[in-house]
Symmetry: C2
Subunit: 104 residues, 2 copies
């Protein structure tokens, strides 16, 4: 579908992508983690997309198996939600992924 192509293009063309909701503290946590690591993610706020928000959220579930926000991609790869991203960082594995994804 058109929407699926858009999402696939978004996550492959942008090193860090966070599908988020503006009111959600877990989404805020993951956004500020990336900011702290010196990375500017592309943030897509699903609650600011009108009717398309739920459509994108369903599509992401089909593509990643994850129906929740935040939904995080690094270097085109699905990382997970807030907990997975934080866990990866505590293991020291997030920054290498970010370095790889953001190099030119």
């Amino acid at each position: 579908s058109r929407l699926e192509e858009t999402v696939k293009k978004t996550v492959t063309e942008n090193p860090v992508v966070v599908y988020s909701k503006t009111w959600c503290s877990y989404s805020s946590e993951v956004k500020s983690l990336f900011k702290k690591l010196g990375v500017e993610p592309l943030v897509i706020e699903l609650d600011e997309m009108g009717a398309q928000g739920p459509q994108v959220q369903k599509l992401l579930e089909r593509l990643t198996g994850q129906h929740t926000v935040p939904n995080v991609f690094v270097g085109g790869n699905h990382i997970g939600g807030c907990s997975e991203t934080v866990k990866l960082h505590h293991k020291g594995e997030l920054e290498p992924l970010l370095a790889e994804a953001t190099k030119n």
Copy 2:
């Protein structure tokens, strides 16, 4: 107002009250913290109250200065949100409050 009387009655008659939203991870965190501490909070899910949800959320803001969820009361006193509750617990100050609030 009638709603205000209901909320005041709720927080004074129940030792632990959490105003919550079912989809919210911060709300889940605070609910499971109480469960872990052996306390059964009265949980009011604002997203399951139809039009009354936003009304109660606005009322809570007027009463407590807090417009977010979760909104936590122990022994009739406003504790705060998830972060404040967790912080209080790390300082060892939550359990004494709970003991006080739940004694008969």
